[in-house]
């Protein structure tokens, strides 16, 4: 079953200053699916995500629903329906959980709609309801990750980008988060594009996977296939 392409990136070259980090990447993300980008530290995974959102100097073509978004400002790209949960979560630590969530919906009006969305976030992350009026910086790592995802959900995005959601979290919490991500994808029809160092988890969750090595795609295909691949098993899955 082929799904329509939601995001397509062609020949992406990204630079930090004069250093080239991505060398002609080609990617495509299917609508409604979960795609993951794997690779070791420094492979360029985060850079790829940032290129999609216009946060890094990049050349090449990026089309979201057929519309060229390369070169546009981050805030304009976001308003098209792409939510980004950044590396380090990007929480507004001095603001409350309530304010963080409301900020997710800041580009929309309509009080009633926002209240309903907040309820939906609580549905997935009941812990946030308890912490509603607390300063976000006082939340634990896992809770901040949930808050970051919740904030992204408030955007009512079509595509959600997640940068290493498992980072720094206890294994139990990670399981919780990933289960919720799966539920989100199925119920809200949000496509996910996930960058992960934890290959085992990512390949369990995703339908489609890319493997990045020093700024180049070296393998791509259905997650099932990559999971069974001999080389990947040895290098990234540890058996």
């Amino acid at each position: 079953m082929t799904r329509p392409v939601l995001l397509e990136a062609k020949n992406i070259c990204a630079y930090y200053g004069a250093t080239q980090v991505l060398h002609g990447l080609d990617l495509s993300i299917a609508e409604g699916g979960i795609t993951t980008l794997l690779g070791a530290n420094g492979a360029g995974k985060t850079t790829m995500l940032r290129s999609v959102c216009g946060m890094v100097r990049a050349t090449g073509e990026i089309r979201f629903r057929g519309r060229q978004i390369a070169g546009e400002a981050t805030e304009d790209i976001v308003r098209l329906g792409i939510a980004h949960v950044p590396e380090g979560r990007g929480t507004f630590v001095r603001l409350t959980v309530e304010e963080n969530l409301h900020l997710g919906a800041i580009t929309r009006g309509g009080k009633a709609g926002i209240a309903a969305d907040v309820e939906r976030v609580f549905g997935y992350f009941p812990r946030l309801r308890e912490r509603y009026r607390q300063q976000a910086g006082t939340l634990s790592g896992g809770e901040q990750q949930m808050l970051a995802i919740g904030r992204a959900m408030m955007l009512r995005p079509t595509l959600m980008l997640l940068d290493e959601p498992s980072f720094g979290l206890a294994p139990l919490i990670v399981q919780e988060v990933f289960t919720i991500l799966k539920q989100m994808n199925e119920r809200e029809k949000v496509s996910l594009f996930l960058v992960e160092q934890n290959a085992a988890l990512a390949l369990d969750l995703a339908d489609h996977a890319y493997l990045l090595e020093t700024g180049r795609v070296v393998m791509a295909g259905p997650a099932r296939e990559l999971r069974e691949d001999e080389n990947i098993r040895r290098a990234y899955l540890g058996y």
Binding site: V78, P86, G90, F92, V93, E99, L103, L155
Partner: protein, 292 residues
């Protein structure tokens, strides 16, 4: 005792002005991590505009609000046109630019309106309020306007969407972009608001110190003192700091011998240096922790 009370109340009144300047300074500082040394001159220029309107027979309060609007536009434009090219430049460039702005605005004001002091009307009259000689009407009026302004700002930032967006843009510009906030617009908005607040301070203090191009220099200094004492990262602290500086300045001037108007300035500065050595983040600010 009555003298003490009188001086404290007068100190609170002028402290309100310093609080306004301090607030304007902190607002911009929170957004761009720089102190706008030209804030006082912008306030002075706004006050001259108000004066000019009044000369043209515009009623006081109309002139007041027109000036607020014009100042807002001015601050907005200065940010968009003059500050924008150096957004990513090092701190020294910013400081030099503020100095240049100071020179331009001061010189323009002197050129257009000349250097003779002018009197600026007070809408509150000169009689005493609350018993004989305790507090003048203008001082009471100043305090009233300042309090109103601060309450308005508090409500704005706490309960409106734009207020929240501005706070987010100042706190974490990158994350703000990720929720779709146009950070550059928020920055310019902040400048506009700071300019208006400065205009309020200027228009309130002008009846007391008389209007001339160099009138805001020492007031800006007291504003800095207030912002630093309160903590550069805390708007609420800046306000309290400003009021404290006003009270201390007044009490020092009245009760300590040898402290004439000139030395009052040095006292404010001694205060800055003292606070900075003892607690660099001020009374209410938080120490900024830098991750290595």
């Amino acid at each position: 005792m009555e003298l003490f009370l009188h001086q404290v109340l007068a100190g609170i009144a002028t402290g309100g002005i310093y609080a306004c300047m301090a607030l304007a300074i902190v607002m911009i500082y929170q957004a761009i991590d720089h102190l706008n040394f030209a804030q006082g001159e912008m306030a002075m220029f706004s006050t001259f505009i108000a004066w000019q309107l009044i000369q043209w027979e515009v009623p006081y309060w109309a002139a007041f609000f027109i000036t607020l609007a014009v100042s807002f536009a001015g601050g907005y434009l200065i940010e968009r046109i003059i500050m924008k090219p150096i957004h990513n430049a090092p701190i020294l460039s910013h400081v030099a630019l503020f100095i240049a702005l100071f020179a331009v605005i001061n010189s323009l004001a002197g050129f257009i309106w000349e250097y003779q002091i002018k009197s600026f009307p007070s809408p509150f009259g000169t009689h005493s309020v609350l018993g004989e000689g305790l507090i003048s009407a203008h001082d009471a009026g100043m305090t009233g306007v300042t309090v109103t302004l601060l309450v308005f700002l508090f409500l704005f930032f706490r309960y409106t969407r734009i207020g929240l967006a501005m706070r987010a843009a100042a706190a974490n510009p990158e994350s703000a972009r990720l929720v779709g906030i146009r950070v550059e617009w928020m920055l310019a908005l902040g400048w506009g608001m700071a300019a208006s607040i400065g205009a309020v301070a200027g228009m309130l203090i002008a009846p007391v110190v008389f209007l001339e191009p160099n009138m805001m220099a020492s007031i800006l200094l007291y504003g800095f003192a207030g912002a630093v004492v309160g903590g550069l990262t805390s708007p609420g602290g800046a306000v309290i700091g400003g009021v404290l500086v006003g009270i201390i300045e007044n009490l020092a001037g009245t009760f300590i011998p040898y402290v004439g108007s000139e030395l009052k300035l040095s006292i404010a500065l001694a205060l800055i240096v003292f606070v900075l050595t003892v607690k660099p983040s001020g009374l209410f600010g938080r120490s900024v922790v830098h991750r290595v």
